[in-house]
Amino acid sequence: MGRKEIQQNGKLEPFNLMQKNSHKEPTHLFSKRFSKKKVLEESVTYLLRTLTYLVIVLAGYLFLDIAYKGSKAIFKTEAPFINTQFLTEKPQTLHVFEPLEIDKKLSKIRSEVLSLNIKTKSLSSANTEQAKEYSTTIKAHNNEIKRLDILRKKDRLTFSDTEYRALEFTPSLDEFKYNTYAYSGGGIGPAIIGTTLLVFGSILIALTMGVLCAIYLSEYSKPGRSLQAIRLSILNLSGVPSIVFGLFGFGLFVLYLDWGVSLIAGWFTLALMALPVIITASEESMRAIPKGFREGSLALGASKWTCIRTNVLPYALPGILTSSIMGIARVAGETAPIMFTAAYALRDRLPWEGLENTTDFFFQGVMALPYHIYVVSSKIPQNEYTQNMQYGTALVFLLIVGSFALSSIILRAKVRKKYDW
């Protein structure tokens, strides 16, 4: 339904009005006619449409900005087109040598532009000639800056940590200006691995506990006040802010149980966060299964467990999986709970490297993409050297979480169509 219908359903006007209009064109009782109300309706419709598309454009800008700038980091122009280095290497400090001469020139011109700008501002409005003169100079300076920038990019040297250490001769500091940028070199390999470990571990815990709990609640428990209270509290817990879960995980797992900042503490914290969502969704999809399936099975002499195993779980499973993928997306996207339970800002070793006991695997902190984004966006400055790392990480993370969410949305639509009994 759209505007057409609005026009068709335009309010009927009194007869005399209709007759007044009738000299223009032949009208009948139901012919279309103009009214102020219709204009108002049109404009309200357009207002709503604008609002909707505003949301789409704003979010779209966010996506496109990250996708455009991030793709520079994770894609290459030559084969194999994917910057495997960025995706697999460990994060490193970037060592940058900029040609000193050009740098000096640049800073000089920049300061001139700055002073000119100030001067223009302090000029009174009458002095237009002077202002014009200033602006032309500024323009010229800006062009010069662009030219120098290209030169500088051509001549500069950048090294990652390992490369820098392997250098036989460090470039002389007389010719070059030397800067280091933390986290900006190398790649995000450990962070990707860490996130994967965190997500799958936690979802495994949450899914096991959640589904078992849901089976109990929907199949075995007796209805009553206590069950209602449990449902209500589970529902409410799913709305508790993630930072509160983080606080709890930090207090209980990291400090009280003394697991330290570790994978296992992160697993449990994230699992607890996903648990209410998974319990609610699993229970819902189990209760959506018609009572007849259970009765039919029981009447054939199946035991309660057989009935659940053969006639409840298989049909509830698509629903459970869909919701758990949503849970995965939620868990993978969270930063607050792992900030002080599982994530390290920088860790050179991969999780399986240098383990003394196998149990150490669980009691080590890992790098994680969300925390890495937090670190690189808040702890290092934004400039051309750090941008790649920042946007690249954000894009990779967005792609991972987005693919989970997207598959869950698509799957849900399909499941709804298929299992509509």
């Binding site: 007849g292 399936f293 009765e295 039919g296 009447a299 054939l300 002499g301 199946a302 006639n311």
Partner: protein
Amino acid sequence: MNVNFQTDSKKSDTPSTPKAVIQARDLDFSYGDSQALFNINMDIHKKEVTAFIGPSGCGKSTFLRCFNRMNDLIEIAKIKSGTIKISDVDIYDKNVDVIELRKHVGMVFQKSNPFPKSIYENIAYGMRIQGIKNKKELDETVETCLKGAALWDEVKDRLNQSALGLSGGQQQRLCIARALAVKPKIILMDEPCSALDPVATAKVEELIHKLKKQYTIVVVTHNMQQAARVSDRTAFFYLGRLVEYGPTEQIFMNPENPKTEAYVSGRFG
């Protein structure tokens, strides 16, 4: 042959005829505080169709579900006193395995509830849960059951299609076939035709008539004509009491109790 159990008559204590398969004695049943059945005494005879009639909420379905203990699923439902014996075994004894009981006493529900599997799997379900895996045995039983339920000719070409694609009457007959696969001796039917059109209803009734030769069948129905058509004996329930029980002819042509008379002649409720 006029076995007539009236709630208030002393006749109820008469020893049952040897043909009785199900014997209910002084049965009181309640959901929580509200009593659903009062002092029911009834003998159900072997290889006969027994129909339960009565207005909604009179307890006929409740009574039927006592026979295979489906009421166990409802938390607050319980038998307050009295016994039900099937083949001389008290089925509410604590040594009774409900699962074995339900294999012995099959059930068909008001709303046909085929599982969303293939037709074949629906029939084979009952055997699979008993651990029968032999493909040949399964195939044979599926065929016999479908033939037994007069469904074989209609579905033999599409055994692997979803059972949800069948028509309502076919689904209900599939459910009956599914119940047959467990080899019960007694089949309970809880308003098996209430959701079906007349042709499908007729088919199910034909099936009941056919199955009567091998099974003891108990049918709950809202439709008096149906009870008259399919059953050998009819029990009329009213407000949780068994008002009259006897051969169908007698109940419909010459009921003893004025309430029954009023109900079957449609002057009631």
